[in-house]
């Protein structure tokens, strides 16, 4: 849930989603779900000349499993908080593992 939680804070920020088929799409993150499916608005493809078929697309829904990277706006990321969240997640995971 960490990434879900994290991406939720990036809603309405501009992100670049790099897909596993090498297409990079920049757009405003509109929503994300627990499968990290991503909805982008006002998109444009980074290499528009290479993928002209996407030039008329305005918004996309990206299945989470096809995402390779999400380029984050660094200003919107609270690193310390993210570290803490990671620690919590790890603690919970280990606690769960121990608990059975």
């Amino acid at each position: 849930m960490l990434f879900f939680s994290f991406f939720k804070t990036l809603v309405d920020h501009e992100v670049t989603v790099e897909l596993k088929n090498d297409i990079s799409i920049r757009g405003t993150l509109k929503s994300v779900d627990q499968f990290l499916n991503i909805k982008l608005d006002n998109i444009n493809v980074v290499e528009e000349m290479k993928y002209p078929h996407l030039s008329s697309v305005k918004n996309v829904f990206i299945r989470g499993s096809v995402v390779r990277y999400v380029h984050l706006p660094s200003g919107a990321v609270d690193t310390a908080l993210l570290e803490d969240a990671t620690r919590r997640e790890a603690t919970q995971a280990s606690a769960r593992a121990k608990q059975g």
């Binding site: 939720k8 627990q34 908080l81």
Partner: protein, 864 residues
Amino acid sequence: MSFFGFDTSLPKDRGHNPKAPGFSLAPDPFAGLSSRTGGGEKEVLDFEDTYDGLGDQLDETGDAFNDDTFGEEPVGKDFDFSGQTSKISGTMQEEQAFFDARQPPPKMSPQKLAAKPVRSGYEGYKQADYIPSLEVNASLWGMPSKAKSPDLSASHRQQSSGPSVQIGRKMMSLEEVEAAMRSQSQKPAAVQQSAAQHLPPPSQPISQAFPQGLSLPGYPTFSAPSPQVDTTQQRASGGPQMLQRPTKASDQQVLPHNGAQGVQAQTPQILQRPSQSQAQPPTLTPGPQASSNRASPQSIQILQNPNRVPGPAAVQPPQVAEGVGGMAPTGPTHGRGLSGQVPIVTRPEQLLGLSEDERAAFLLEDARRAKRNHKIYLLSKDNGLMTPQDKNFITRIQLQQLVTATGNVIDEHGPEAALNEDFYYQVHAQIRGPPRQNPHQPLSQFAQTYLFQTGGRPGNANRRHPRGGENHVQRMEQQVQRAVEAAKLKPKNKQLVIEGSLGKISFSNAKTPKPLLNIKRPESRDLRSQSGTHVPTRSNDSVATRRQTLKDIERLYMTLMAMEDHERRMPPPPNEETPADLIQEHIEWRQKMQELNQSLWNDLKVMEPIDPNSPIGHPFMAILSLPKGKKVIPRVFRHIDDQQRITILTMICLYLDQLDVVRLAAPADPNDTTATLPPPAVRDSVELFSQAVMPSLFGYVNDAPLQIVVGLLGLLLDRVNTALILRTKVGLAILTMLVSRAELIKQATSAQSTQGINEREWQQWNALYNQLFDKAEPVLPYIFPPSTNHPSDADDVHVWQFLAAMAVGANEDQQRRLVVAVKDCVNDTVEQSKALPPEIAGRRLGNVNLFMRAIGLDVDLLQR
């Protein structure tokens, strides 16, 4: 076996009459044909029968008189071909044509028969083509019995069989055949009547025992119309035919004729028609049974053809018509059903008696009802596409999605778990302004909201459909409850442990998409790893040390987070009115906080003895040497008391030269006077230290009394190589911090009064200051960072700050010495800034001015 000697066996027991097929009987088109083949069929097809018989008249053997016939002359060769022979050939052609012409009738009869089995009771309404088939049926029914009955009147028999024999012997002309067929087709009823009358006892019950209504569907010939009568007459003619049975005594004389006519020719046809359509009705009407029987055809008609109901319907009570009439003013309604009818029956009269207003109100109401009915009609268009079960199923799926998506963890552990699960978002939202929801609002409220909504919609419908809706809401609520229950139960068997396997299979749900294999970590391994960590520490393995330090830092963070969580749970501070249990709660909270503080303090390892084998030295310094450790300090400082803070500060001062940001930034050789720039990684960590740790230290020192400042400075000068730390940014910053604080205290106390001044402390301070000045003076030219050579990005503000702080506290002699020491640097900077862009130049000159103003000068003086 019956008392009266009747055949009491029911038709079904007797088996179905094979020649009178019922509804479900498979059609046997040749059933009738086979019954006839014994008679006429063969006659027709036999060539002997078609032969004119002229040859028979020749006496083949009587050659004796040939001479008399042909004369005694020898036979000549002049045969007469055009005479006798041509005559014969002409006869042969005639014969051929005649034979051909005769063929069709026998062929047609099977076709007519084929139509018979498909008897539905409606044949009578069909075209005349089918009527011959009716005749066939009648013959099937009646003829065989006739043939079988030996006591049939001899005359009748003669009449019926005689002619047929004659026909067999004597050639019928084509016209005769056609006429016979036409006559047969037009009087099937007559034939049947005769058959019915002359049925032998065994078969009589069939026709008589059958009530009229019953026999009709099976034997529609009763009502079969003659081709001449139209459908309206048909009713009349159908009735009389059946009515003939009771009155057969009167018709007796006619009927034998009819039977004979069936086979004979035109004359019966003429007789028959008047008897059916005209003669019979008069005979019937006077009969006493006529009136009673007249009703029966009607009812039979109804049975036979429900579509003809309009007649009786029109006779129905006038209420219906009135109801329809009363409805009419209300406008066109589609649902003129039960709901509309009930009030309307009594209304039309009432409506007249109503006042204008009432009538208007009534009409309005009616219009509304009509509108509603129309709406219902429109809505009901798609009714029945989904069954209630389908809808419930869909709803349950949706609700379960909702519950599993947001509900289960919260239900189990409350909002605290929600915070754990969604920590980043929750806290981020708290810090950066809540975008949508209160961060501490439990997520389950989502589920609640949605469930309420779905429960509310049927509630609205409830208003419209009072009874059905209620039930639906109840079921919906149960559904929701069940869904929630199911979702609560579900997490309990989230995992499947297969016997003998190492791991366990866990089922994914929306909350935890893919923890497919979850290996249980044995508790012992944790202990082992803890005990094992000491080994690499002793083995001087720097990687292992670093790893151990990182682990220490992580533990520190965990404790810190526990403290922060605990702090969030702080109960309201107690006062006099606070109930005892709340005070108790508060006390417990404080105790817990104390424990956590202690463990945090332990985790910091500030008080731990220096490990002589560690390359880093003091464990606390090791923690501070890592970026993570640096970053944790500001958070730690919020949770520790002043005593702990001063201890940390003391430790830092005491081991300042061990601190990585000092140790690595300082020149390796203290005697090396050339200014060197520390490597980039070190510069980064120095920067981080300045941003993370220094503000915390500075914040504490800013409130510290002179005593502490004196103590710290004394410790520094006593234990640390001052010349070395002077050449590092962090060292300079700490010294600046202490000196400036002392100056501020001095100014503050002197401004108030001289009473509070502790003379002994000031003497101590002055001694320390002098000691520092003496130690610093030789290195002053080198404390400037080497980047001064690259003037545009000079990072020397901390140097000027230090010089300024020193200058403030310095006496005149010391100030002069300071100026002498840094004069070159000042001049250099001023000179460089002249060549720089005004912005950077101004910044740099401002830095210099910090020092210049401290000694009562200004850069502007130098620039002139």
